[in-house]
Symmetry: C2
Subunit: 425 residues, 2 copies
C-alpha cells in the first residue's frame, strides 16, 4: 500500500531546514587565490585612505596665497624648485613664489596647500631655471585628496560572508591582507540514484537516460560556494545503499541524493532515513516541480533528498540547499534575492500548487520582464541552460497572463538577501 | 614640454580596439571540470528528448479505451500484471482489463496509451492477485511524455561561446558530452607600474600605497574568462621595462599594464610603445575616470595601458579588455549588457566628459534603481566592493538628479550583448 504524504508550504519547508543551518570554520588563502571565495571575517581598513594628503592629478603643488591676484590679464610666474614622483617625497618646504612638479598620487610637499593641473600651466625657462605661468587663482585645498577623506582606519568595508569580487580583492590588497581569512567551503556529497541512469559516456538504451542531475548539482554546489564530492551512483541493493549513505555522512558536511524519494517501489531513501534513525523534516512540499523533495537530519547533518527529475532537483537545490551553504560561509544574505517583474508570456496551466518556472530576465526601459524559458514540463532540461531566474507562480489560480506582476528569484546574483526578507516577500 | 593629447569618444575607442579582436582555439575538458568555462562549439542534441514515450509520474500504465465508462459510481477494476521500474522494460503487451505499475521516467509498455497517477487509484487484492480501482475515464496520451516532445535530435541547444552554467552542464551530460569542447582561455599578462607601489605585505610608508590594481585586475580577468599571468612590478629603469614588456608579449595573448600611461615624467609606457614600434590606437579617451587609458597593438597583439588609478583601471578593463576576452572565447555577446535604470541619488558634479560611476543596482517593484556607491573620487577604492554596475553619465551636463533615467552597465551578468547593441545603446 502506498504512503499518503501531507505537503507543507515552501516557506515553511525553507524555515524548517534553516533551523539546522550552521556556520563553518575560517581558513586562510593567499590574496592571489581569494577571488570567488567568501570573507571569513569582516574586512577592516588598517589605515586612513588616503594615508597622507596627496595629489589626484599630474600638476604643480602651490601655495594658494601666491595665486590670489593671478588672472588671464595678470598671470603669475612661479619657479619650479623640484619634482615629486609618486612614491617619493620632497624634503624641503616650498616658499613664496615657488612650486614643485607633482605626479598623480604623490604626497603634497610642506608649505603647499593646492595643486594646479598640468593642463592649466605654461612651462618655460627663465635665467636657465624652470618656471611656470598660472592664469587664475586657487583656494586652499583645491585638488588635494586629504588624509582619510575616503576611509578612516578601523572602518568595516565588507562584512564576513561577502562574496569576494574584484572590488573586494582591491580592498584586501589596499589594506594589507596578504593572507585572506576565507570561509571554509562545506564539503557536499552527491549520490545519484535511479536504475534508469546511464553514465554520460554510455550509449542510449531503451528505457534509460543519461545521468545529468549529478553533474548539474555539482555545478550548482560550486556556484553556491560549496565543495562538491561526487560519490557516484547508488547500488540496486537496499542494504548496500544504506551503507553508502552512512559512509558518505562521515566524509561530508551535507549529503545530497537525487532521486529515490518518491513513493515508488524502488525509492529507497525513505527506508534509509528510517534505518539511519534520521529526523525527516518533511517529505512533501506544496510546489511543482519538486513536490517529493525530502529533507532529513541526522546528528545535525542535513540530508537533502532531491527529486530525480532534473528541474525539480535544480529548484530544490536553490530553495533549500543554497541558503544552508551560504550560512556555512558566514553570510547573513543566505537566500537568493526575490524581486518583482512583469510576466513576459502567458502561463495558462491551472496551478493548484506554488510553481517555480525557469525563466530569463530581460530589461526593458528600466523595467524587468521575466519570460518562462520554453515548455515547462518538469522533465524538460533544454530550457535550463538559458534560465537566470525562477518565476514564482503561487498556487490556487487558473493560470497567469502576460503582463501580470510576479516575483522572480535571481539565480546568478551574488548579493542575496536575508532569510527574513526571502520568507516575507 | 608636455604632449597634448586629443581625446576620442568611448564608443570610438571600443570600436577601434575591437577591430583587433581574435578568436582562440578549442580544447577539451572532462564534464566534471566544465562549469564556469565557455562552450568551444555549439551544443547539439544527439538524440530526441524523451528518447522513448515515458511516464512523467508514478502510477499505472493503462489502455484508455478500458476506462471509457469509468466513474465514481461505476469504478473500473484492472488487474496489475507487472511493474516497470525506471530504466527497465515490460516485455509483453498489456491486454484488455490489465494494467502495469509504472515508475516515473519508465517506458510506456506496448498496448498502453495513458498513465493514471498513483494518487487516483485504489490498490487491493482479489483472488490473491493485485488489482486497482479507477473512478474516471482517461484519454489517449494522458500523462505520457512523448518521444522528442522536448527536443529533437540535432537541435542546437546553446551556441559556442556560451558561459557554462549548471543548466548547460545538465544539457552536456544529457547529450553525452563526456569531454566538453571549451574555448581555450586567453593568457593575459599583468604588469603593475608605479614607484609609489608597495607590495601587499609591506608596511605603509610616507607617500606610498599598496599595489591593489594588480590583484584587482587578476580577478577581473578571471571573472571575464581569461587566464591571468601576474608578471610583477615594473623596474624603475626604462630599458629594463622595455625588455620586460617585450619578453611578456612572447608569453601571453594580451598584455595589461597598470599605470605609467599619463604624461608624467615617470610614465614610461608611451616611450616603450615607440621602442616596440607598436601601433597606438588611442592614448586619451573622453571619459572619467580613465582618460589616460592607452591601447596599442604590436603584430596583432593588444597592449592595454590602463590607468594606475584603481577606479580608472577597473573601468578601462571592463570597457576595453573584457570584450576582447569574450571574443577570444568565441562569444558573440562580447560586451556587458547596458540597461536603463533610475538614478537613485543626485550626482551634481559638472560633467564635461562621459563619466562611469560605480554603483549598485536595486530592484523596487519591478523597476531598476542604480545608486552611486559612495563618494566617486577617482582614487577611491572603498566603493568598489559593493559595485555591481557602472552608471553611465554622459558628458556635457551640469550634473544629474535623483530620479533621472540613466544607462547602467551590468558588471556581474554572464549573458552580455553584442558589440553592435553595446555601441548603439
Amino acid at each position: 500500500m502506498v504512503e499518503r504524504r501531507k505537503p507543507i508550504k515552501v516557506n515553511d519547508a525553507v524555515d524548517r531546514v534553516m533551523k539546522f543551518a550552521v556556520s563553518g570554520s575560517v581558513s586562510y588563502l593567499s590574496i592571489e587565490q581569494a577571488y570567488g571565495h567568501f570573507l571569513g571575517e569582516d574586512l577592516v581598513a588598517d589605515h586612513d585612505v588616503p594615508s597622507f594628503d596627496r595629489s589626484p592629478y599630474d600638476g604643480f603643488a602651490i601655495r594658494s596665497i601666491d595665486t590670489k591676484n593671478a588672472s588671464h590679464t595678470n598671470p603669475l610666474t612661479l619657479e619650479v624648485v623640484g619634482e615629486i614622483g609618486a612614491g617619493s617625497l620632497f624634503e624641503k618646504t616650498v616658499g613664496e613664489g615657488q612650486t614643485v612638479r607633482i605626479m598623480t598620487g604623490a604626497q603634497i610637499p610642506a608649505g603647499c596647500d593646492a595643486v594646479v593641473m598640468l593642463e592649466l600651466t605654461q612651462e618655460f625657462e627663465k635665467d636657465s631655471k624652470p618656471h611656470i605661468e598660472i592664469k587664475r587663482s586657487f583656494n586652499q585645498g583645491d585638488n588635494i585628496s586629504f588624509t582619510g577623506e575616503d576611509t578612516k582606519s578601523g572602518t568595516v568595508l565588507a562584512t564576513k560572508g561577502t562574496y569576494i569580487n574584484p572590488g573586494i580583492v582591491a580592498l584586501l590588497a589596499t589594506f594589507g591582507y596578504k593572507d585572506v581569512p576565507v570561509s571554509s567551503k562545506p564539503k557536499i556529497g552527491v549520490i545519484a540514484t535511479g536504475s534508469e541512469l546511464l553514465e554520460v559516456d554510455e550509449a542510449l538504451q531503451p528505457g534509460k537516460i543519461r545521468n545529468s542531475n549529478a553533474y548539474m548539482i555539482v555545478s550548482q554546489i560550486e556556484r553556491a560556494g560549496g565543495q562538491p564530492v561526487y560519490l557516484g551512483q547508488f547500488s540496486d541493493d537496499l542494504s548496500t545503499c544504506y551503507t553508502q549513505v552512512k559512509d558518505a555522512l562521515n566524509k561530508v558536511d551535507f549529503l545530497i541524493t537525487t532521486g529515490g524519494v518518491s513513493v515508488g517501489d524502488y525509492d529507497y531513501l525513505p527506508e534509509i532515513y528510517q534505518m539511519l534513525g534520521a529526523n525527516v523534516l518533511f517529505n512533501k512540499v506544496g510546489m511543482r516541480p519538486g513536490s517529493v523533495t525530502t529533507i532529513a537530519e541526522k546528528d545535525g547533518k542535513l540530508l537533502f533528498g532531491l527529486s530525480g527529475n532534473p528541474s525539480a532537483c535544480y529548484v530544490g537545490f536553490e530553495l533549500f540547499t543554497r541558503p544552508i551553504i551560504r550560512t556555512y560561509l558566514h553570510s547573513n544574505h543566505q537566500c537568493l534575492q526575490k524581486v518583482s517583474a512583469t510576466l513576459g508570456a502567458d502561463f495558462l496551466k491551472p496551478n493548484p500548487f506554488d510553481r517555480f518556472v525557469r525563466g530569463y530576465l530581460s530589461y526593458d526601459e528600466g523595467k524587468l520582464t521575466a519570460t518562462p524559458a520554453g515548455l515547462d514540463k518538469s522533465n524538460v532540461v533544454s530550457s535550463l541552460g538559458m534560465a537566470n531566474v525562477l518565476i514564482l507562480l503561487p498556487g490556487g489560480t487558473r493560470g497567469y497572463k502576460r503582463g501580470m506582476n510576479v516575483k522572480v528569484i535571481l539565480l546568478e546574483d551574488q548579493t542575496g538577501t536575508t532569510l527574513e526578507s526571502f520568507l516575507s516577500d
